[in-house]
Symmetry: C2
Subunit: 516 residues, 2 copies
Amino acid sequence: MLKRNRWFVIAGILCVAAGLAAAQERSPQSVRKAVREYRQQNEVEIVRSYVDLLSLPNVASDTANIKLNADAISKMLELRGFRAQQLNVPGAPPVVYGELSTPGAKHTLLLYAHYDGQPVDKAQWSSGPWQPVLRDGPVDGKSIPLETLKGPLNPEWRIYARSASDDKAPIQALLTAIDALKAAKIPIGVNLKVFFEGEEEAGSPHLGEVFRQNADLLKGGIWVLSDGPVNQTRRPQLYFGARGVTDLELTVYGPGRVLHDGHYGNWAPNPAAVLVDLLAHMRDANSHILIPGFYDDVRALTADEKQAIAQSPEVDAQLKQELGLAWTESAGAMLPLAITQPALNIRGIEAGHVEEKAQNAISTTAKASIDFRLVPNQTPERVHQLVEQFITQQGFYIVRQTPDIETRRQHARVIKVIWGQGYKAARTAMDDPAVRPVITTMEQTLGTSVIKMPLLGGSIPMYLFTDVLKTPVVGLPIVNHDNNQHGANENLRLQNLWDGIEIFAGILAGAEKNWK
Amino acid sequence: MLKRNRWFVIAGILCVAAGLAAAQERSPQSVRKAVREYRQQNEVEIVRSYVDLLSLPNVASDTANIKLNADAISKMLELRGFRAQQLNVPGAPPVVYGELSTPGAKHTLLLYAHYDGQPVDKAQWSSGPWQPVLRDGPVDGKSIPLETLKGPLNPEWRIYARSASDDKAPIQALLTAIDALKAAKIPIGVNLKVFFEGEEEAGSPHLGEVFRQNADLLKGGIWVLSDGPVNQTRRPQLYFGARGVTDLELTVYGPGRVLHDGHYGNWAPNPAAVLVDLLAHMRDANSHILIPGFYDDVRALTADEKQAIAQSPEVDAQLKQELGLAWTESAGAMLPLAITQPALNIRGIEAGHVEEKAQNAISTTAKASIDFRLVPNQTPERVHQLVEQFITQQGFYIVRQTPDIETRRQHARVIKVIWGQGYKAARTAMDDPAVRPVITTMEQTLGTSVIKMPLLGGSIPMYLFTDVLKTPVVGLPIVNHDNNQHGANENLRLQNLWDGIEIFAGILAGAEKNWK
């Protein structure tokens, strides 16, 4: 009784304080508090609304469904007073664009996120990728029925669905932040523009074109890009650049028909062995890329970038524990430093069959899927050139389409090389004054300094902001690092959504007065 | 009219000649002729009967269906007067065994074939693996309806089904040979025993036990083993040995959950890259095995084996043309010589995904399926030892079951190594007098010498005949080399079935008098 009474009194004081503050200029801390209270009172509604958004299949190539996503998000914007429109260029999913003007605001904040998700391998998922499930923790945890859900929710619970983290979470967090500010009668201080892309996971092949066609709408403010995870310590972080990417599909050819590997083994070329040999010559098991000249264009880190990495929290030990790793392939470099280097990732290899499906046979093809992560100042064009030179030097004959038998008769080691869309890395200077208002406001909101990373390991086409829009950009991620992003059972930890709502609300309410 | 009359007269003369000959001792040539006539008159019935046999799914692990095969074949034997029985040992598909005694015969011929087939990947087949289809040639050829089939059939037509070649064809050919001899009233000269195994494609794990338990039934005659294809020139051949085999499944481990390969690429170990590195150290692209000591036990070819290989027809040029190959992985050695060496075949590799299913992700495992083809005097036991020593030297920690996370935390490069059943090679001396009657009778039947190969590239547990039954054995294949054996769209060329019937009939009728 005593305890309950005491809480009652405290809550009463808080309510009175909140009412008084709303009438005045709000401190960043009091904004955060009001937003938190709104969220605490509406957790179930927020989760249900997010589940609706996550129920829409969202692979970029799935044109019909991607349009359903765009329409749903447009509607969500309009409900909150945005002037929404879809920016279209031929062959691309629409960009959902919205403006929310604030009378008297002198500055504009632009937020980028993407609503498409990685392709899925449904067999690997514990539940449907677009049938969101709330679980009380890891994927083998108990699922919590949404119909009978009642708050407060355990913040360690997670929503499982494709794009739960990557990258619908910032969309949900931002819109909930706006709802919370409105409910608390806290005004948004800046003009806000949102830009939600629909083909980031397909490599953003049309983003530059959209930027060019809509440059007038998109220039003259601070861009905040929300994608990727927070620090592995679960502490918030900002990043000033992102690795670029370029991917390729390789197919090598064996005999024209599947052969018995007893009758023909060590005579007929085994395409799996040929592919293995090529890949092993391209990189070693410690991730060093062996292609001559590959590192020539890599720009060295500056002193303050090196310092920021040195000051970032030590995460290797925790991650190795979490992931069951006794080693890393970075030759001793800690994660934040390792990802400032380029990578050759083998995304997949496919040849013949294994285990119970294995056949004593030499297959006709072997395939590998690779992506290269690029760092400043590498370009996809130069990387393509170096990789193809190398493949040719290894004795291969490069084709762009499935070779006919005559081509295979004439050339040993025919290889089909197909490059996907790719783009270069970008890295904004960490002391660039143009992004300072966002950083300052975020730190005021949280009441502490945040981790600053020179480079995000993942790829986001940040270079288009700097190259096409000629504007710096800062990355502000909100989702948990252990989200199975890109894999099966992608998930979002509720606490990360809650934190994201508070951070976005703080910036919306407070950034205007931090502009110099 | 004139032509038809002439054929009529010729046919009449032939019939009279056949009738006269049947009453006397038949020459090998006249036996062959009579059998051919029977076949020509019954082509449709033979094909239909074979189609029935091929309609039974026959993967060794499919216990219920494998029993249906055994029962059907037992019945086929009984219909031809065999005393049939099924030889059972626990956990193994039955061996179908049958005896057909010939009054007065002093010698026994034993025929081995197997009725089980390789596992199938149905997605790769143009028609169901157990829904036999007759086509007018290659797999993209026209299919010929069986219901309205009328002879004579084009001998280049092919029957498509699992085990059409490997290895139900000898069963069908032998039984049809018996039918043909009976129809032509030509007596079988020897005592005949047949032995049809049901798990050859699973590595014959119980064959030795069946031999030991039934040694009294199975000793004291000449064993003919009918499996594998005729020469690539389509000429008949005999072989005096076969490579052994031992297979293994490898799994290497990456992070405990799928990771975004941007955020973690070149830090988290990529299991595909680790596997590639290991495989590339195990063999080079020219099929040379790099495992120390691997070739130490290889027995050199004798002078007459070398001579037989040198005298065998040149098939490389034709095969390379047929298979669309500009090179072979045998470092210049022709096929018959190449297969006298051991091989490391990569049967399959599986990690992540490729092409449209590719994800920008680091997978949790990478798997490879390998078989080693062994030659005299290598043993699976010694090969296992050498391979595991090598893997350990490469920095791996070997486990036999899926490792738990604690094991993965403690050991870099954990690898699961699972060996399948395997067996050693065998090679009978080419001048062994014990198999001479079969060779002589076959050559008399064909009226020409046949190609003799010291070693078949494929694996057949010939060593069990020599080691357990202490008897030499000769391999007599009948099926076409271009049969897609072990792969999808396995097929049998009709002419090969027709030839097989004549060869078996010739041996049944004539071998007794060639015994010394």
